[in-house]
Structures are given as C-alpha cells and as structure tokens.
Amino acid sequence: MDGNVFVFCETDNGKVVDISLELLSSGRKLAGKLNCKLEAIVLGNDISDIEKQISKYGVDTIHIADDSRLDPYLTLVYSKIVSYVLDKDQPQIVLFGASSIGRDLAPRVASTLQCGLTADCTRLEIGDHLERKTKVEYKDLLLAIRPAFGGSIMATIVNWDMPPQMATVREGVMKKEVFDKNYKSEIINIDLSDLISDEDFVIEVLERHMEESKVNLKEAPIIVAGGYGVGSKENFDLLYEFADMLGADVGGSRAAIDAGFLENERQIGQTGVTVRPKLYIACGISGAIQHTAGMDESAMIVSINKDKNAPINKIADYVIVGDLNEVLPKMIKSFHKQAQ
C-alpha cells in the first residue's frame, strides 16, 4: 500500500494529550518499517506551539487547524475536517486514541471514508497476509491485534482492500518516547473556510465538568488489583488497607468494575488502562486475556487465588493458593514484622 501513517492528535486546553503522544511514538515505528512519513492531524484552540509539543516524536508533517470554534470537541465538525484531510492525502494507516473523543470520532470518519476500523488494539505490527480464497498475498499490511470475545481469544485483524487501515488504541498501551529532539516538521494549515458550516454546530455543549482524576494507575509503582473473586465492595477495603501500607494504588478487573466494586477509572485491561508497575498483586483475579493484556508487562506479579489453576497464575512470579481475606491480613502482619 502507498501513503503515509497518520495520527489524530487530541488536544486539551491547547496541549496534545498523552494517548496521542503515545500513538505518535507507535506511528513513528510503523512509518519506519514502511519507509514512509509520519503525519499528525491536530485540531484545537490556541495550539500555536504545536511543533514544540510534537515534532520531537518524529513527525514529518503536521496538519493543523487552530480555531476557537474547535474547542470544545464536536463530532460533526471534527469528523468533517479529519475526513477531508484523510480523503485528500490517502494515508495507508490512521491511528486514533480510544478515548471518549477518539471512540466518538474514528467510527464516524471510518463510515465517511468507507474503510475498516479496529477498536482497542493492544499491539500494532506490520506483516503480510495470505488470502486463503484467492491465494493472493498482501505485503506490509497493518496487523491490528486485539483481544476479542470477552478476552478469551486474541484476534489479528487486517484490511487489504478498503484503505486506509484504521485502528484505535487505549491510553497506556504504547510507550511515549522522544524520537529526536531536533526533529523538524512541515506545517500545513487546514483551511476551514469552505470546510465547516453552521449545520456542523447543531449540537451544543451546555456544560462540561472535568474531574481531575485522583487515580493514576499508569504511574503507580505498585498496584493491588482485585477481581470478581474479591466478592464485594466492602471486601475491597482490605485491598485499600493493604495498598496504603505498601504505598500502592488499587485497580481492578473488568468483572470487578462491572459488579460495581470499583470506579470505572480503576479498570485495568484492554478496555481500561494498561499498567507496567514494578509489582502487581492480583487478588481473586482469574486472568482473562482482556485483563492480562493490560498488566502482563508488570515487572513482578503476585497472584492470590483460591484456584490453583487460575490462568493468571501462569504469568505470576508468586502464587499464593488461598482466600485473599485470610492471605492479605497475613501479608500485612508479615510486612510489619519484616520491613524496617
């Protein structure tokens, strides 16, 4: 396929957000393998210092629209602009963050362009695909890899005939890495004058309350995580107590969040946050791929589980077979006894 790698960059108060910087790093690698350029689309208000913000991630071209009407985000306005740029420049790959904005925008754009979109990928690679029916081999496709079916399988998705190849990725899955701090980008200003009209502003944002998140699992050195096996919201108190003692943060599996034991922002896994702490203590977590995809790069994993054969035990460094309600108090006691 021809064309470059594009990344849609989300902005918040004039700053490109983390997930987009992570995708630029990921896009840089893909562009390197494909020997093509990395381009960014940045929409927002008051983002004139954009080169300073993102060029260093190895961005060759920045398509920018800096306009007061672009804050706050509006689906129709953004999808019109992004679809226009992609249609004009015919990239081969486009990446979006799987944030509430990315997941609102990317499908609308994919529908406009009649192309494929793979959600919540946990790995992006370049590879070949042999089409069984026609025996045609397609070279250098985007392999969009994601857990599927409730996390019981890992699926590799390709799109060889309806470009561009688009994918969304959750925050924290890819690593943000500066490519070259002296990298220079070409700037292209997107001309909005004939592009957007009043009818794109039919939805009105009356209020917006952003909550500064108290939880930052991505940065936590130690995480105590609970699953459905914790049993109740009250039982999580013990995990919090244990976490406090260790200076750790508390997270959970999707099953624990769905059961209402924990807030959404504490979900770890494919559809939550991806973490890489130095110690991950999994309490009553069975370990579906959906969950392990978000924590299997932890430096050390301790699993506390009644079931000796729980899948998570296969990636653990220590497995304690037992009831967490008995094990955690013993661990707390043990820590007080030994830590000086």
Binding site: S79, D120, M154, I157, K314, I320, E326
Partner: protein, 291 residues
C-alpha cells in the same frame, strides 16, 4: 410535544462476561454453542431511555430493531415484554460475517426503510466486540448527528433533547436537535423489568420462520392478531447492495485467531500459611520491590 418515532438498536450477544475454560475448543476456537445468549446489556439501557421518552411524550412509538440470525427474535419479544410498541428483525444469511461498517450499512438501510424516524438509540457497545463503532457509523450513514455515552435524560423540548454524557474524566451536558442518534451508556438507568400483562400479550409473537415450526393454534393466533407477527426483513426488503453487506462489505477481516499461550511459568507456588507468606514478603523486601 410532537410524538416521536424511536428505533432502538438491540443485539443478541453471547454472554461473554462469564467465559470459562470450557468456552474454548481444543483447537483454540470459541465454542459459541455453550455460551447462553442475552440481550446486549447496553442496549437494554437504550430501550429504557426510549421508554422514558415515551412516558413523557404521549403517542411516541418505540420500535425494537435487531439484526442477527433467526433465533434473535427473542430480542424482539423481550422488547415487547418491557414496553416496546413494535419489533422488527433483519435477518438473512447474506448479512453474515459483517463487521461494524457492513452492519451499520444494513441498519441504516433498514432505518431508512422504516421511514420518518426521529430518533435512533443504541447501547454504546456490544459485549461480544466492545468496539462502540456501530452507533456512530449508523449515524453517519443516515446523516443524523450523534451523541455518544449518554447516561441521563435531562430535558425534552420541541425538536430538541438535552442529555448528560459520561466522558473518560468527566461529564458533559449537551443539547441536540431531533432527529438524532444517541448511544446509551451502562450508567444510564436500569431497564424496567418485564410487564406481566405484556408478557401474556406477546408470548406468542413469532416471525414467519418461527411460525413454520409452530403448532397450529399458534399459527391461528398470529393470523388473528396481527400484532403478534414479527416482521422479518431480508436483503431485498431493505434494498441493500450486496457489495456493502456481509463479508463482502466488511473491510476488516480476521487474519488469525489464537488462544493465548501464557509465557512459561517459573512461579513459586505457595500455600496460605504464615510461614510461606513470610518467605515471599521477605524476598520482596530484600529485592527492594517493597519496603
């Protein structure tokens, strides 16, 4: 206020929330047969949203639309039991293998065929794919604005609706014009339960496919009471182009599927005795992981 015609998109999904080890066949493929099918959870919230609007605006029609295999007629019946006015199935082998783009095309063609629809409501995502793409893609194809992640109905006015959206790190109150497509979050009010009267009324609602295999008294009943007849539309009924449906209309294809082989374990297996736990905690402290 003017009564609205609301279409609720509902999907029958395998209950992937409780996938056990036996859900995988030895060859690594999913054993769909053993998983029970359910009404996709987010779509139930979407149905509740529609019913709340119906409560507020007399004469509003709620139509439950499902696309899927023949057995998905269960979804339409469930919709009736909980208060929907009409149900409709789109079912055809040629729709099979559709990704979200082909699915949204099929749904969009159906909505156009239904005609004069004021509002389309769907769950944010289905638990068998978790993509959250079908809603926005359908909105684009029927040329409706979209509001995603809706968790509360704030206000209804003439040709406008105000809702609260749940974002990653906050909320937004937005006012949208009607017509509009909204996707409804799992944090929206729980769907009301089945109504006993409606359960009795719609117990024998059947599609033609189902009817063919039923006893005579049910056939007669459905013939007498046309509301028990669940329409079942195929490719021709919605005038869909073959190149845009099913596998042919799906840009994303599966290259491979694998069950994950976890990396070889070197785990120390310990008991829950205080001695074992002391040993582990001691090792974690001496290697400076904790402490």
């Amino acid at each position: 206020m003017k009564p609205l015609k609301i279409v609720v998109l509902a999907k029958q999904v395998p209950d992937t929330r409780n996938v056990g080890p036996d859900a995988m066949k030895p060859d690594g493929t999913v054993n769909r047969g053993i998983l029970p099918t359910i009404f996709n959870p987010d779509d139930l919230h979407a149905l509740e949203f529609a019913l709340q609007i119906k409560d507020k605006i007399e004469g509003t029609q709620v139509i439950v639309l499902t696309m899927g295999p023949k057995r998905a007629a269960d979804i339409v019946r469930e919709g009736y039991y909980r208060g929907a006015d009409y149900g409709l199935m789109v079912s055809d082998r040629r729709f099979g293998g559709a990704d979200t783009l082909a699915t949204s095309y099929t749904l969009a063609m159906t909505i156009k065929k239904i005609g004069d629809v004021d509002m389309v409501l769907a769950g944010v995502q289905a638990i068998d794919g978790d993509t959250a793409q079908t809603g926005p893609q359908t909105a684009e194809k029927i040329n409706f604005p979209q509001v995603t992640y809706v968790e509360e109905l704030i206000d209804l006015g003439n040709n406008e609706i105000t809702v609260k959206r749940r974002l990653d790190k906050g909320i937004e109150i937005v006012k949208a014009p009607i017509p509009v497509l909204m996707t409804v979050n799992g944090t929206f009010d729980k769907c009301r339960s089945r109504n006993a009267k409606k359960l009795l009324k719609y117990k024998y609602a059947r599609t033609d496919t189902e009817l063919a295999r039923e006893e005579d008294f049910i056939k007669e009943l459905v013939e007498q009471r046309s509301y028990l007849h669940i329409p079942e539309w195929n490719v021709e009924d919605i005038e869909a182009e073959l190149s845009k449906i099913g596998l042919a209309g799906s840009p994303t294809k599966v290259n491979k599927v694998e069950s994950i082989v976890m990396k070889a374990s070197e785990a120390k297996i310990l008991s829950d005795s205080q001695e074992d736990i002391d040993l582990m905690v001691g090792e974690l402290i001496s290697s400076h992981v904790i402490g």
